[in-house]
Symmetry: C2
Subunit: 304 residues, 2 copies
């Protein structure tokens, strides 16, 4: 169990290769796992990477291409065989829900857990939130409807200054409100301002996932300031002419988006199978943006 950790399960492109699996990531966020995209063999990668089926609570599908979706039927059926309890919410486009229900009706008639479907659209929207985290969509620019996802920690509570809490003899029942930013009103009517009682909250961290998309400056605006950005880099410069017509980006373009968006770190992935090394991607992206990581299966990135 991690605080906020991105696990790379697959970072290849359309067809799996000897080097990379199709797209899948799992965010290990405290007591839950959030999966992003679910290429074939995702269930196998979960096992290899010791990510427990029982903790999986949400799956977010960016678009309806096989390499981002076709691991779902097998995974959902295995979850039932493992007698997973509780519920699982799948966030995908309407056509994805329809075909998934068709498949499940044949291959997984009974599940031990509740499946909820949340139909998403190509839009800027909050599609999930609770007290700790918020998931937002934003448009990507691919050959078919496609969205990116942002995972943003909810604003955190301010830190109490122990000495001041003691000095003003503040009752425990008021502490939550003070952590949320309230001033304290003493019995004699004096107002003690919050800034005397607390120090700033830790910043909320955020992660953005962009796969698949052609280079588009609007993406930079949508991921501005995130701590970690995963941006597809299907091609290196040598195949740059193929990128836009196929709705993909080069590593250099991913670097430009990262620089423009002022993110903390850039993670590259969704490599075309025609490359036998990830080095050209890293080198070319780094010419645009200094803090680059190349994704590989098994990689873990801790945000907290």
């Amino acid at each position: 169990m991690a605080n906020f950790q991105v696990n790379i399960l697959g970072c290849g492109s359309a067809t799996p290769s000897a080097r990379h699996m199709p797209s899948c990531q799992v965010i290990d966020f405290r007591d839950r796992l959030f999966m992003i995209d679910c290429g074939e063999c995702a269930q196998l990668q979960m096992m290899k990477q010791r990510l427990k089926f029982s903790r999986l609570s949400h799956i977010f599908i960016s678009h309806l291409h096989g390499d981002h979706f076709l691991g779902l039927p097998g995974l959902l059926s295995t979850l039932a065989l493992h007698e997973k309890g509780g519920s699982l919410t799948i966030h995908t486009f309407a056509e994805g829900v329809r075909v998934l229900k068709e498949i499940m009706a044949v291959f997984c008639r009974e599940t031990s857990y509740e499946i909820n479907y949340n139909v998403i659209k190509v839009d800027r929207d909050v599609i999930f939130e609770d007290h700790a985290i918020r998931v937002e969509t934003f448009p990507l620019y691919h050959r078919v409807d496609c969205v990116g996802f942002k995972f943003i920690e909810q604003p955190k509570l301010r830190h109490l200054r122990g000495d001041m809490i003691k000095f003003f003899n503040i009752p425990v029942s008021r502490l939550q409100a003070i952590r949320e930013g309230a001033d304290f009103v003493a019995e004699d009517g004096r107002v003690i301002e919050n800034s005397r009682l607390t120090t700033d909250a830790d910043p909320s961290v955020s992660y953005a996932y962009c796969s698949d998309t052609m280079f588009d400056p609007r993406v930079a605006a949508d991921v501005a300031g995130v701590d970690v950005l995963y941006h597809e880099s299907t091609y290196a410069d040598d195949n740059a002419h193929k990128a836009a017509p196929r709705g993909h980006s080069t590593a250099r373009e991913a670097g430009r988006i990262a620089a423009k968006a002022g993110v903390g770190k850039l993670v590259l992935g969704h490599y075309s199978k025609s490359y036998d090394s990830d080095l050209p991607f890293a080198r070319e992206a780094a010419e645009e943006f200094p803090n680059v990581i190349t994704a590989s299966e098994g990689l873990k990135i801790d945000l907290l």
Copy 2:
């Protein structure tokens, strides 16, 4: 390219494990590949085992459980991306054809090759044959409709006796008929019997695939005398009580079928993921039938 070689791509049961992939085999038969069952990740296993997509011509699905079917959508879509040409025939039950068409309509709208569907039934039937090989179905006894497959070389031609052909001065145009068993009528009307001109043809080899099924003596009758029998052995003796209620067999039961059927070799597989060694299967089956092989991913069995 092999003459007649069975390749094991997956021999685990319902859920993949760290040790075994879901069911898939490929018969490498001269210029073509015949796939039997297509569990998730079959396309990846084909790549790892260097079985060329371009040679795949038929896929036979034994029953509609996910671990025997759900590799199909990804494989078919990858074949299109690899621009496979020619045609591919998928032999499966009607409901499998229906759901596959639904999936393909979303995830693989265009293919570079022709897909043919052959709807099969739980029956004893010849579902494919050409000059070199014949594929037959026979009933298995599982929780859902399920068939086994027999791959049988067509009868071969007799061997010519070079000395006799020369002695009787037989023209080349007659040799094919003689290899097929015809007598030779000389110009003077004398009949030279075929048995003086030829020796026996090589025997036709045969392979039978039984997965999934509970123990049933009718299976032994259907696979009588095959050279190699693959028979599921989901459980060892320690879990024998689970086998029949779940429509599966133990390794010992597989051994009994092999002995009763008088096969050449028995290959075990479809192991439950609750075992961390294949040895109990081998040991217990061998107490019933001497010539046992335990399947594992990457294993190749040459029949010719």
